[in-house]
């Protein structure tokens, strides 16, 4: 009886400890600059983003850009950036001719610019995934989708239609859309570089228009019928 009581008390104590640790963990994960990033590199990028006060104008998660600032979620320059080559030039020089002039951050190092751009791309990929999953994509044009598949999207460079046709059969519409937008994870394992295919898909995700996605999905959905 005593043993059972002791075991019960121990279980309750452990549960309390777990809950306390969990509460402290969740408290630690959010601050005035948003949520703590999931990898060390992204957290370094978030640190630059927040301490340079980028979030006051461009939004904590790139949504709600204010004060006339660029919408980094949709701005094509961000979509074309590679490791800070375009973002960095603006951040370092500022935009003095804007209505209220974006300051220049000339003290940032090359590594900090790389971390910053990595974080901005990460936020953009997450945001655009959510946005494109929530958008009504009815009425896609399969023919335009085929043109995109073989043209601007460059899908045919890696994917054959026969493989995709069998994959398409397996998924319902929502899963197919999700897999199309993000076939791999947002994040590779810590300290591992994303594969070339993952990188290509993340770049596409940053640049798809809703029309591109609607058309490409309409094409993919027809593939099993075409075979």
């Amino acid at each position: 009886m005593n043993l059972r009581w002791s075991m019960g008390a121990l279980a309750v104590a452990l549960l309390c400890l777990v809950q306390l640790a969990s509460a402290q963990e969740s408290k630690r994960k959010v601050d005035a600059g948003g949520s703590v990033a999931p990898t060390a590199a992204l957290e370094r990028g978030r640190t630059v983003y927040v301490l340079s006060s980028c979030h006051f104008c461009h939004g904590i998660d790139l949504t709600g850009a204010s004060m006339g600032a660029a919408d980094l979620m949709h701005d094509p320059l961000v979509g074309a950036d590679r490791n800070g080559n375009l973002i960095g030039s603006i951040v370092l020089a500022g935009l003095p001719n804007l209505q209220t002039a974006m300051p220049k951050f000339a003290d940032l190092t090359k590594d900090q610019i790389s971390d910053l751009s990595g974080y901005i791309h990460y936020l953009r990929q997450q945001g655009r995934y959510k946005e494109l999953m929530a958008t009504n994509l009815d009425g896609g044009d399969a023919k335009a989708g085929e043109a995109y598949f073989n043209g601007a999207g460059g899908c045919n460079k890696c994917h054959s239609t026969s493989n995709l046709a069998s994959a398409t059969r397996k998924y319902d519409a929502s899963t197919l859309r999700s897999r199309f937008l993000r076939p791999g994870p947002f994040l590779p394992a810590e300290n591992a570089a994303p594969s070339a295919g993952e990188q290509a898909h993340l770049r596409l995700l940053e640049n798809y228009s809703a029309t591109d996605v609607a058309n490409a999905l309409a094409y993919l959905e027809k593939l099993p019928l075409l075979r």
């Binding site: 600059g33 340079s52 006060s53 006051f56 006339g68 003095p96 209505q99 000339a106």
Partner: protein, 312 residues
């Protein structure tokens, strides 16, 4: 950019009776440091509820009480149920889809909202022993004359002495008959765009407006002024009788970034001591805008401590 619906506005209005039931008005006492009246620009609170949220004004009041800062310059985006983008300040957003409709709805709201709306907000501040000293409205060419008139009436109902405005020189010219008609000043607030000659960013740009009307003043943002490579101390020495208040922030020169107080190039200590030692009638308002992982209230408190030490 979605305007609040009628339902949202009704929710806001529903909070009015609650405010009316607050304890009676407390006596306003300025927050003095070494004899200088300190306040804040409500832009400093970056973690407020969204525009139009019924908790926005109570949160500002709670933050000010927590800081012991009794007066403020309040942004129109904290009074009206949308941000200043809806009323045309940001030139870049005037071409956004849906902007024209949004702007017209904002105009109609301004022209029809009962003045009790503003009186109630004033009452909430006064009941907490606080004061709205300046109404920060960014007048621009998208305002109609009727809208300008109503905005002056709104400022009076809020209990403001006058306006602080991030406006442009061409709009200042349009405002001359309004300051004369309403006998209420407009203080021009500067940024540091040195490219556009219509912007307030240099001593010369201020001089143009100050010459237009005796009811025009400057809200000198000493951080932006420094980022524009101007001499803050020299400007205050020359125009101290035409400056209503300063915005205190610390920026680096050459369009450099905002920094925690004491880490930029802005002569904050020299400026505060200049005002104190010469008894200039200039109010000192903190505007927090550097990056931090801490809350706005914590950072404004740090800024205030820096100023207190500068004047010790």
């Amino acid at each position: 950019m979605i305007l609040p619906s009628r339902r949202d506005f009704c929710k806001f209005a529903a909070a009015l009776p609650v405010a009316m039931a607050l304890p009676p008005q407390q006596h306003f006492q300025p927050t003095l440091i070494a004899g200088l009246p300190f306040g804040l620009e409500t832009f400093s609170f970056h973690d407020l509820p969204a525009a139009g949220d019924p908790q926005l004004i109570p949160t500002i009041i709670r933050n000010m009480k927590s800081l012991g800062i009794n007066e403020c310059e309040i942004m129109s985006g904290h009074i009206e149920p949308w941000g200043s983008y809806a009323t045309g300040w940001w030139v870049q957003t005037r071409t956004a889809p849906g902007y024209a409709k949004m702007r017209e709805e904002a105009r109609q709201w301004r022209l029809t909202v009962p003045m009790d709306y503003y009186r109630n907000i004033r009452r909430q501040f006064e009941d907490a022993g606080l004061r709205i000293y300046y109404y920060n409205v960014n007048f621009n060419e998208t305002f109609s004359d009727e809208e300008r008139d109503r905005t002056f009436e709104a400022a009076r109902e809020l209990g403001a002495e006058g306006f602080s405005s991030s406006t442009v020189i061409s709009e200042a010219q349009r405002l001359v008959p309004f300051v004369e008609k309403h006998r209420m000043f407009v203080a021009m607030h500067n940024h540091n765009n040195l490219v556009d000659p219509d912007q307030f960013a240099t001593p010369q740009s201020f001089e143009k407006a100050l010459a237009m009307s005796k009811d025009f003043y400057a809200t000198l943002d000493i951080g932006h002024f420094t980022a524009g490579n101007n001499d803050v101390v020299a400007f205050i020495r020359q125009y101290h009788d035409r400056i209503t208040n300063i915005h205190i922030r610390d920026r680096k020169r050459d369009n450099g970034p905002n920094r925690p107080f004491g880490q930029g190039d802005t002569p904050i200590k020299e400026t505060l001591r200049l005002i104190r030692d010469n008894h200039y009638p200039i109010r000192c308002y903190i505007e927090y805008e550097y990056g931090s992982f801490r809350s706005s209230v914590e950072e404004v408190r740090t800024c205030l401590e820096y100023c207190r030490e500068a004047l010790a």
